[in-house]
């Protein structure tokens, strides 16, 4: 069977379809990162399935040379759940946006996370509705001026990390479209995690919400405004690696400190992504600029039973104990009588 390909490169995952996102859209970079992440995951090409809903990001499956399903608005979490439960051997990815996942698909999104179905959810967060040309989304900052909020929104936005952890999320990570390497690294970690893993990617919409994440991607300042968390490493950040995070035990909140006379590296918090208690993870996920650096990397990664695995185990267990082995047995089970 020499003609069967067993190793793949990023190129193998590109489909023959013309990519139609706007020039300069963050989606291009995220797709590149995913295509680079896939070859090393130990799955054959035919075992990947990309499922999306509706929105700019949801066009994604068309551009991938894998099994793909571009479904209806908000429902990708449910469809992906069905795919994974039907065939747990597949590597199932859900591609979604802030509107698709947290507005119309909010119910499915929290429940796929709660059930811990083993799928990888890549959440493109550009804080705007792009495909419908510029209305506010559930993550648009309070006061955002958009086509449907000409005087500014009067809604409080969701913080995806908080929502995900609140929905019993076991894996939450964050990256940004301008950091391709970090995206690639995190996507692989998301794939290797058993259970629902959500990666929020801060993504720029060049047309309707340009520069919404500019403060975090700005070349000059990004290292002072973000922190990349890695399991087992102290929480250091800054261009000169001169800042860090400690727990202000008096006020029970995180605190940014300068390293120097007063604080040294050993005073800093060491990131433990595997801690079950979500307390610190929630604080890290909720850090926002300018008060804090925005956290990138895998913020939470906790082992737990997955839904699809539990379903499979239950089926096997009941099968082994039951005397009903086929439909003929079933029809004759219980009370019957002869005429």
């Amino acid at each position: 069977m020499s003609d069967i390909q067993t190793t793949f490169t990023a190129k193998d995952f590109k489909s023959d379809q013309e990519v139609r996102w706007c020039p300069g859209c963050g989606d291009h970079a995220i797709m590149n990162a995913i295509q680079r992440a896939l070859p090393d995951l130990g799955y054959k090409k035919e075992n990947f399935a990309f499922i999306s809903g509706i929105g700019c990001s949801s066009r994604f499956p068309y551009y991938m040379n894998t099994y793909g399903f571009h479904s209806i608005h908000g429902r990708a979490s449910a469809i992906a759940s069905g795919v994974k439960v039907a065939n747990p051997k597949l590597s199932v990815w859900q591609i979604t946006g802030d509107g698709d996942a947290m507005a119309i698909g909010g119910n499915h999104f929290i429940h796929v996370i709660r059930r811990n179905v083993d799928i990888n959810i890549i959440l493109f967060n550009n804080e705007i509705y792009g495909l419908t040309k510029g209305q506010y989304s559930p993550t648009s900052k309070f006061g955002s001026v958009t086509k449907t909020s000409p005087y500014g929104t009067v809604e409080h936005p969701f913080h995806p990390g908080e929502l995900i952890i609140g929905a019993q999320g076991k894996f939450f990570a964050r990256s940004i479209d301008t950091n391709l390497k970090l995206c690639q690294e995190i996507f692989q970690q998301a794939s290797r995690h058993d259970g629902a893993s959500v990666v929020e990617v801060l993504q720029n919409c060049v047309i309707y919400n340009d520069k919404t994440h500019a403060a975090l991607s700005d070349k000059e300042h990004k290292e002072d405004r973000t922190i990349v968390l890695r399991h087992g490493e102290p929480m250091i950040f800054g261009k000169n690696k001169d800042k860090g995070l400690i727990l202000d035990t008096e006020n029970l909140k995180l605190k940014v400190v300068e390293l120097g006379d007063k604080y040294s590296e050993k005073d800093l918090l060491v990131h433990n992504a595997e801690e079950k208690n979500p307390g610190i993870h929630l604080m890290l996920a909720n850090m926002s600029y300018p008060d804090y650096p925005v956290a990138f990397g895998v913020i939470r990664s906790v082992k737990a039973q997955t839904y699809d695995n539990a379903v499979q185990k239950q089926v096997e267990d009941v099968k082994s104990k039951s005397s009903v082995k086929c439909v003929d047995d079933l029809l004759r089970s219980g009370t019957t009588w002869e005429v």
Binding site: I4, S15, Q17, K44, K45, E46, N47, A49, I51, I54, P61, Y62, M64, N65, T66, Y67, G68, F69, H70, S71, I72, R75, S77, A78, I79, A80, S81, G82, V83, K84, V85, A86, N87, K89, L90, N107, H108, H111, V311, Q314, V315, D317, V318, K319, K321, S322, V324, K325, C326, V327, D328, L330, L331, R332, G334, T335, T336, W337, E338, V339
Partner: protein, 614 residues
């Protein structure tokens, strides 16, 4: 055993058990039905219960009933009862109108105190006179106090004692209908295996009721029901919902696919999901979703991944699933959507049957969105039509909507157990590894079904979705002519299913004056009425539809043979409207009832006679 001299001999009787929703009337009725089946009667049952789990005790809203019709050639649970058991005043108030003139009503006289009468809405302390019930043979039995007396030495707690009073009533009914007690006693032994005291108590009460009726024989009628001439074989009782669940399991076995059911609980469809969730021993995967939409969407995902996928719901849920059904139409994935219809619109009458979702099933989606629509017509044939729905969905790569209703879903009847060897194979059009020049929308020329390439198959990676696609390659296309062709192909694919379904059959005369037309769950009542009139020499026939879209091929040929056509439905005329659109050359009369109740054979016969005399 001494029996009263004037035993009533008959071919069939109807018994209705009626009480508070906590009185155990469903169990009482089921036990009576089982015993009747064991001794060779044909039967049909219908539980009639309120949508509240425990409505205020003693009120009309809380009355729960179970009607069973036993005898020979039984197709319906019967219109009016020969015997009514009323465990309290509310039960009497609510159901006396369903007793035949001259019928027997057994009352628990202990419950007819001032409080009970008031709660039931009686204005005097004499309900018999107040509601002019003296046309009935009323037996007032102190059921509660005799139950207490019978169990006084057992040491059973007072609550459990009172709970077994339904078995006293059942014992009485067993004597009246000359039924043996042993089947019910065996049931107690099995059911309460770990509580011997409860087994003993129930047996004592059952026997006490039986003996009481015998002692009272001077005032108690007794019936001799002829056994049915039933085909030889092994039988069981089956309800429509159970039969539906099992039909899908059978289809999965024949198709060699795993069965997946994504669903959300909704009355009166929930039992299908419940039964399927038990059947993990046959590999069934059930997914209780967060809502109706996720119910169907998980199934669409499972279908994409290669399972036989179904979802179960009722009218309100079908409305929520509309957009996703459109996705299954567009992606041409096989699946079955079961709608166990109930009274609508909105929440409507959740526990009452109706046939008012037909138009929703046919057209309740955006765009031109054709699906196959099939309707089951009796509790046991739900098995057959669930099986066929799955077979058509898979072999034609299309969503199928299977309509049942609360009447056949909850009703039950004896069913001659089939052998799976007699059922046809189901051949899934799976695209195989190594398929040359494969494209997702290449079609089989006969059926127009596309092939099913399951993720995991080497070399068949492809993308599908809700956007219109190119006729050949399956890639996204907005070409105007392509859209026209694809729209026509999707419709034509569904229409061609009529090459694979049986022709419409007629019961009764081939050329009669009146053709009665029905569809779905009204079959029992329509067939009974038409057969009765036919036996009386009337020129009448019945054409009952199970295949709604596409219609069987010979509809025009059948309709053209009759002088007059009347379409009978439990809605305001949805099927007749559909027939007027699809077969406009005929003149249709219509007969519609929309009360949350099945037809009665009496009203149907009256109406048909009127039409015949016109």
């Amino acid at each position: 055993m001494s029996k009263k001299a004037d035993v009533i001999e008959c071919n069939d009787v109807v018994i209705r058990f009626s009480g508070d929703s906590g009185d155990g009337m469903q169990l009482t009725g089921t036990l009576f039905s089982d015993t009747s089946a064991f001794i060779g009667n044909d039967l049909s049952t219908f539980p009639d219960y309120p949508s509240e789990i425990r409505a205020p005790q003693g009120t009309i809203g809380g009355v729960s009933g179970f009607q069973v019709h036993v005898g020979t050639k039984i197709k319906t649970p019967g219109d009016y009862a020969d015997v009514l058991v009323a465990m309290n005043p509310a039960a009497l108030k609510a159901t006396a109108k369903w007793v035949k003139e001259g019928g027997t009503i057994i009352l628990d006289e202990d419950s007819f105190d001032e409080r009970g009468l008031k709660k039931a809405g009686y204005k005097t302390d004499d309900p018999i006179t107040e509601d002019k019930l003296d046309v009935f043979n009323i037996i007032q039995a102190p059921i509660s106090s005799l139950t207490k007396e019978a169990l006084k030495d057992t040491g059973l707690d007072p609550k459990s004692v009172l709970r077994s009073k339904n078995m006293f009533a059942l014992g009485m009914v067993y004597w009246i209908f000359d039924r043996p007690l042993n089947y019910t006693e065996e049931f107690f032994e099995k059911k309460f295996k770990k509580k011997p005291i409860v087994v003993e108590a129930n047996k004592i009460v059952l026997r006490a009721g039986y003996n009481y009726a015998e002692t009272m024989e001077h005032s108690t009628p007794s019936y001799k029901v002829s056994p049915a001439k039933i085909q030889k074989g092994t039988y069981r009782n089956i309800s429509g919902n159970l039969a539906t669940a099992w039909g899908f399991i059978a289809a999965a076995e024949k198709a060699k696919l795993e069965l997946f059911c994504g669903s959300y609980p909704i009355t009166p469809a929930t039992e299908i999901l419940q039964e399927l969730s038990i059947r993990k021993d046959l590999g069934v995967k059930t997914f209780q979703a967060e809502d109706e939409i996720a119910g169907i969407c998980t199934s669409i995902g499972a279908s994409f991944a290669g399972d036989l996928a179904i979802t179960t719901t009722s009218g309100p849920g079908l409305a929520l699933k509309g957009e996703a059904i459109g996705l299954a139409v567009m992606t041409e994935l096989p699946m079955v959507i079961v709608d166990v219809q109930r009274g609508g619109p909105s929440t409507g009458l959740p526990t009452k049957p109706e046939q008012s979702d037909l138009m929703q099933a046919l057209y309740g989606r955006n765009g031109e969105s054709p699906v196959v629509v099939i309707a089951a017509s009796t509790p046991s044939d739900c098995f057959h039509y669930a099986f066929l729905s799955a077979k058509i969905a898979i072999e034609h790569m299309t969503p199928v909507i299977l309509l049942t209703d609360g009447f056949i879903a909850n009703g039950s009847e004896p069913w001659k157990i089939p052998s799976m060897a007699d059922y046809p194979e189901i051949k899934a059009p799976i695209a195989l590894e190594g398929s040359k020049d494969w494209n997702p929308y290449v079609r089989d020329v006969e059926r127009l079904a596309r092939t099913w390439a399951v993720p995991g198959t080497i070399g068949l990676e492809h993308r599908i979705g809700g956007l219109e696609k190119d006729e050949l390659k399956g890639s996204v296309s907005q070409d105007p002519m392509n859209h026209q062709r694809m729209t026509e192909i999707r419709e034509e694919k569904v229409q061609r299913v009529n090459n694979y379904i049986p022709e419409l059959e007629v019961e009764g005369d081939k050329n009669a004056k009146l053709l009665v037309v029905g569809w779905g769950g009204t079959y029992g009542h329509l067939a009974t009425s038409v057969n009765d009139l036919h036996e009386q020499g009337k020129s009448i026939a019945l054409a009952h539809f199970n295949f709604i879209k596409p219609l069987p091929k010979n509809v025009k040929e059948v309709f053209s043979r009759y002088e007059k056509i009347v379409v009978c439905e439990n809605n305001l005329g949805q099927f007749v409207g559909y027939l007027r659109m699809t077969n406009p050359e005929f003149n249709y009369e219509q007969y519609n009832k929309i009360q949350g109740l099945p037809f009665t054979t009496i009203e149907l016969e009256e109406h048909f006679i009127k039409l015949l005399e016109e």
